[in-house]
């Protein structure tokens, strides 16, 4: 299978899951599907897994990913 709608022998395959972003209450942005994460120079960042959580509290020690710190630093997503 390839990512772009064709298997290696040219037959149509299931299209990739469309990208989606869920803003988790008081937590990270959950990113699913066909979304590339790029660094500041435009290079792809290895996501390491299909679904990733992007930190939006600013407190993670493994940015851009969430490490759960938002649960202990008082981050609130409601304004």
């Amino acid at each position: 299978m390839t990512d772009h709608g064709r298997t290696t022998d040219g037959h149509p395959s299931t299209p990739p899951r469309p990208g989606s972003i869920v803003a988790c209450p008081d937590g990270p942005l959950l990113v699913r599907g066909d979304v590339e994460v790029l660094d500041a120079d435009g290079r792809p960042v290895d996501k390491g897994r299909r679904t990733v959580a992007l930190c939006r509290c600013g407190g993670s020690s493994i940015k851009p990913w969430c490490d759960g710190t938002h649960k202990v630093n008082g981050f609130s997503s409601s304004t």
Partner: protein, 413 residues
């Protein structure tokens, strides 16, 4: 680093093509495979050299891998009392060829006072063995025992007081809002209040190398089959909650790459600390309080009736993982183990479980609460059981360390 660190070859091992049954090299290898008709397959070493890295993998750095392993059974444990003695004696024969009377008598004698089930060494070991028949099996034990009706009746007789004690000692947390968001928020609040990281704080700051090895031994009982008990729930769910559980479990199982399965990453840690990573190698070392954590997962996972509880258990487990694993990783590094083999498991869980807890809270537990509202109490009960049982096991461990003793039933070699 000590000399036990695993092969630090670059990831040139193909992620496929090593699916061959290999018996463990440990001296505790299981003896007989009674009901397997197949001749043993010869072992195959992964071909070193020019195999390509998986496509799209940017990081081909020194990711360590373990030798391929086959389906390893639980080594036959040493009995701890009359029930496990009678059980293991029966299991060494074929079903139908054994009178289970002595086993039933031992259980009946214990049932005259069905209390302290969670800390009873004999009972918890017996339950572990009975559940293991549904996982990898036990060395020298006929697989036909798995569905032997008389043996299942014995398991039920041991499970009823176990569940009753859990229901008696672990109150169902109250939950005012029983919709998806309300249940997810309640689960996050419950786990935040549990003060879970006290063991992990201890590990980060002051645990000694021998204590950390003990912790790994305790954890190995579950971690070497990490995710398996919750997987039982997949066919019991439907729609959104099922998809959410699959999304979490697929990640637990390395998205299909055997070298990234979380259980394999844990095996790497064990080897980095000079421990035997054979499945179940330390079952005789681990006390009832630790076995009870795993047995509760098996109880919840193997009963459709308790699908709410296994879902709640997973949610609580994921919600108490990211922050503690960061601290465990810090402790591992503080003790001088800073190579990838020793730290990958912990670093992986910091990132992975920060994702999983979000999925588990809303898409799994929250969505299940809306789909099957009658399960809400069990979802919360399962979560509370996870916290209570893991908390009790951790407390027992730390008490032993505070008294400068061992938390294990027998010393490590």
């Amino acid at each position: 680093m000590d000399g036990m660190s695993p092969v630090e070859a670059p990831t040139t091992t193909p992620s496929t093509g090593v699916a061959t049954a290999v018996e463990p090299s440990s001296g505790r290898a299981p003896s007989v495979e009674p009901s397997s008709g197949a001749a043993p397959t010869p072992s195959v070493e992964p071909s070193s050299g020019a195999a390509p890295t998986p496509s799209g993998e940017a990081s081909s750095s020194a990711a360590p891998t373990l030798p391929p392993r086959g389906a390893v059974r639980l080594p036959r444990p040493a009995p701890r009392g009359p029930i496990s003695t009678a059980l293991l004696a029966a299991l060494s024969r074929s079903p139908g060829a054994v009178d289970l009377g002595p086993l039933r008598a031992a259980v009946a004698a214990r049932l005259t006072d069905p209390t302290d089930w969670r800390t009873d060494e004999d009972v918890q070991l017996a339950l572990l063995c009975l559940y293991e028949l549904h996982y990898r099996g036990i060395a020298g034990v006929d697989d036909d025992w798995e569905w032997d009706p008389d043996l299942l009746a014995v398991r039920a007789a041991l499970e009823v007081p176990f569940e009753a004690e859990l229901r008696r000692t672990v109150p169902v947390p109250e939950c005012d809002r029983r919709d998806r968001t309300g249940v997810a928020e309640r689960l996050f609040a419950l786990t935040a209040a549990a003060d879970g990281p006290s063991l992990s704080r201890h590990v980060a700051r002051k645990t000694t190398e021998p204590q950390l090895r003990e912790l790994l031994v305790h954890r190995s009982i579950y971690q070497l089959k990490e995710a398996d008990p919750h997987t039982w729930a997949i066919p019991r769910l439907a729609g959104g909650p099922k998809a959410a559980l699959v999304e979490i479990q697929a990640d637990e199982y390395g998205d299909g790459d055997p070298h990234r399965m979380h259980a394999e990453l844990f095996a790497l840690v064990m080897r980095a600390f000079g421990l035997d990573d054979t499945y179940g190698a330390y079952v005789d070392h681990v006390p009832a309080a630790t076995l009870a954590s795993l047995n509760a997962m098996s109880l919840f996972g193997l009963h459709r009736r308790l699908r709410g509880a296994i879902v709640g258990h997973l949610a609580a487990f994921e919600m108490t993982s990211s922050l503690p694993n960061r601290l465990y990783g810090n402790g591992v590094r503080r003790l001088g183990h800073d190579d990838v083999a020793a730290t990958w498991y912990f670093d992986e869980h910091v990132a992975a479980d920060a994702v999983h807890e979000q999925i588990a809270g809303r898409d799994l537990a929250g969505a299940l609460a809306e789909q099957e509202p009658e399960l809400v109490d069990d979802i919360l009960f399962g979560a509370a059981c996870c916290l209570a049982l893991d908390g009790a096991a951790a407390a027992r461990m730390m008490q032993a360390w505070d008294a400068d003793g061992t938390s294990l039933l027998r010393p490590l070699p």
